[in-house]
Amino acid sequence: MSIQVRTMADMMASGESPDILFWVGCAGSFDDRAKKITKALVKILNHCKVNFAVLGTEESCTGDPAKRAGNEFTFQMQALMNIELLNGYEVKKIVTACPHCFNTLKNEYPELGGNYEVIHHTQLIQDLINTGKLALADNGTFKGKKITFHDPCYLGRANDVYEAPRDLIEKLDAALVEMKRCKTNGLCCGAGGAQMFKEAEKGNKEINVERTEDAIETSANIIATGCPFCNTMMTDGVKHFEKEEDVKVMDIAELIANAADL
């Protein structure tokens, strides 16, 4: 079953303009696990009748991994092309489920001529619930469950967003349990700074294993994340400890979509 989603080109052709652009990101577009997060968010947006669009095949990497890897040329090539596209569509507001896209679009595009209001999907969902557009069903999905939240570095420390995802977890019928290292002290999953795309340097442990230990220590049933890369790293970490049966790694958007019976 295909999912209802319109592209910017589509909307423009019919003389419409969306209130918000959903920036899907490369992980959200191509990674099998992250695609599920994308769909969960689209379900929420459709359910709340949010007037949104995606760029579709016109979207391209923000350039984040190139910039973190030290290649400013590749980054700016991507950034300037994207900005031309976004400005052409007169985009004002962007939501994304990827903290890396979020950080780059919000903080690094303005100096290159791209000025948009950029929000993380947890902030948008929080707003939808607070304004009464989205109601969570009393379906008992998370009753008695313990959920811990892993702070993505590019959402937390990088941009000081700590409360929106936690606020959403607290709206579920579940207990939010914190890891010993959380919020400003949160430990990286190991994927940032372009590490996602290379083998780790020589060491005695993988960072995602170290981080998954923190999560398992809380005896949470669910590790919630707000980043497709953290999701991959934590999922691999859980596999490392052979805990796939007991511990699920889920994005906040998926938790909310489940709780809202979508």
């Binding site: 190139a66 400013e72 060491g203």
Partner: protein, 436 residues
């Protein structure tokens, strides 16, 4: 005669200190320009909270309290130091006492209480470093001089405090011997008789007070002139360093304007490729190879580091056995800056010694271990930013030397060819909407 000796000693000390401060300023000025004078109100607030208020220290309460004792004692003791300066130059004895009376007793007592707390703090810090062997204070980058430096500072502080109590204690003992009534300083009126009560000779007691007085001021001057050679310089640098903090979100990396011009030329079919570039548009190199390619703020950061290692203990790469230690990045930057600064003062500002920060001090393996998670930046109690140095060194590796880990070359090629870090065609970008 004593006044003359004191005057000469004071002038020499301040002169030598000023000489070294000038070197430090010169070294920092080897860095590239960066604007950190905007948003003044926010800058003052940051300095007051982080440097004066030690806000970030309190993420670890016990060392924060011990550190606060040392810090408060250091700041308040300056009042007594001013009196020592006045007494030393004019030949008076406890100059402030006449004018202040009871308040003077209160003030000295207050200083004494803080000094006792500082004494306890110093002992605790020595124990933590040498007996408890706290991991972050015993890492390999601290072997040798950095470890000695740390212990030396603590020992000097103990000697300083001992001198204060010798001075005040002997004074109290002498007064009590003469008239049964001392100054009534809270600690030394007890400590004095306890240590010096058996001495029934006024002359010896006065001599002891003099020893304490001279010992104190000599220690202060020694300490002051030791600072420029030590990590302990943070007691001054913390203030400008927090004032000039990065105020943008931590995730925002600097934009390279020089690259923008070139990229715009590449993207714009109408651009005139022969147009003369603006004079400031082309830097000597992309990214940083040596300290002269870093900004002055990076270099100020290096002088502000007191090697506490909070950055390194929070670093995910370091925690999992990788070579990277953000503290070492800062120590290397400082050591290289001092080395190059000395070389240039000797051989002229255009001279080069053939060494560089990248290569001679910092290795590629360290740089590629970083996840850019900002934990080190978050942790630093004086707002040092090791990450911006790491990224600038990476930029040099990638853009000037094409030294990129092979998997990353693949990722970069994919972005350039198909607009994603993985090898997927742009036409497949919307497939998710039609898949089950």
């Amino acid at each position: 005669m004593q006044q003359l000796i004191f005057g000469v000693l004071t002038l020499t000390s301040f002169g030598f200190f000023a000489f070294n401060l000038r070197k430090i300023a010169q070294n920092i000025h080897m860095g590239l320009p960066i604007n950190r004078t905007d948003r003044k109100a926010e800058r003052w607030r940051t300095m007051l909270l982080v440097a004066l208020g030690q806000k970030k220290m309190f993420s670890r309460p016990i060392p924060a309290l011990l550190h606060l004792a040392l810090y408060a004692a250091f700041v308040i003791t300056q009042i007594e130091l001013i009196e020592i300066l006045v007494d030393g130059l004019s030949g008076s004895h406890r100059f402030f006492q006449m004018g202040l009376g009871g308040f003077y007793t209160f003030m000295i007592s207050f200083i004494e209480i803080l000094s006792v707390l500082a004494f306890i703090g110093t002992l605790a810090f020595l124990a933590r470093r040498n007996m408890l062997k706290l991991p972050r204070l015993n890492m390999k980058e601290l072997a040798g001089w950095p470890k000695q430096d740390a212990n030396l500072i603590l020992i000097m502080e103990i000697v300083l405090i001992a001198c204060i109590f010798t001075m005040n204690g002997a004074d109290e003992a002498a007064l009590q011997l003469k008239s049964k009534f001392g100054h009534g300083f809270l600690i030394s009126s007890f400590v004095g008789p306890l240590f010096f009560g058996s001495i029934q000779d006024l002359h010896t007691l006065h001599l002891l007070e003099q020893v304490g007085w001279w010992g104190h001021i000599i220690m202060v001057y020694t300490f002051m002139n030791y600072l420029p050679y030590s990590k302990h310089l943070h007691i001054f640098m913390a203030f400008p360093n927090t004032f000039y903090s990065k105020l943008e979100p931590k995730g925002q990396f600097t934009n390279m304007a020089s690259v923008t011009n070139e990229v715009k030329l590449m993207l714009d079919p109408n651009a005139d490729p022969y147009a003369a570039p603006a004079a400031d548009a082309v830097p000597s190199r992309f990214g940083a190879k040596d300290v002269t390619d870093l900004t002055w703020k990076n270099l100020m950061d290096a002088y502000s580091c007191t090697e506490c290692g909070r950055c390194t203990s929070a670093c995910p790469a370091n925690a999992t056995g990788k070579l990277l230690s953000p503290r070492k990045i800062m120590m290397d930057t400082r050591d290289r800056m001092v080395e190059l600064g000395d070389f240039k003062r000797k051989n002229g500002s255009d001279s080069e010694d053939g060494k560089s920060l990248l290569g001679n001090y910092i290795t590629e393996e360290e740089l590629w271990a970083c996840t850019s998670c900002n934990a080190c930046v978050q942790e630093c109690p004086v707002n040092i930013d090791p990450l911006s140095i790491i990224i600038d060194l990476r930029r040099f590796l990638v853009m000037e030397e094409s030294k990129v880990p092979s998997e990353l070359t693949g990722m970069l090629t994919n972005i350039e060819n198909n607009g994603a870090p993985w090898q997927f065609a742009p036409t497949e970008r919307m497939n998710w909407a039609n898949e089950e």
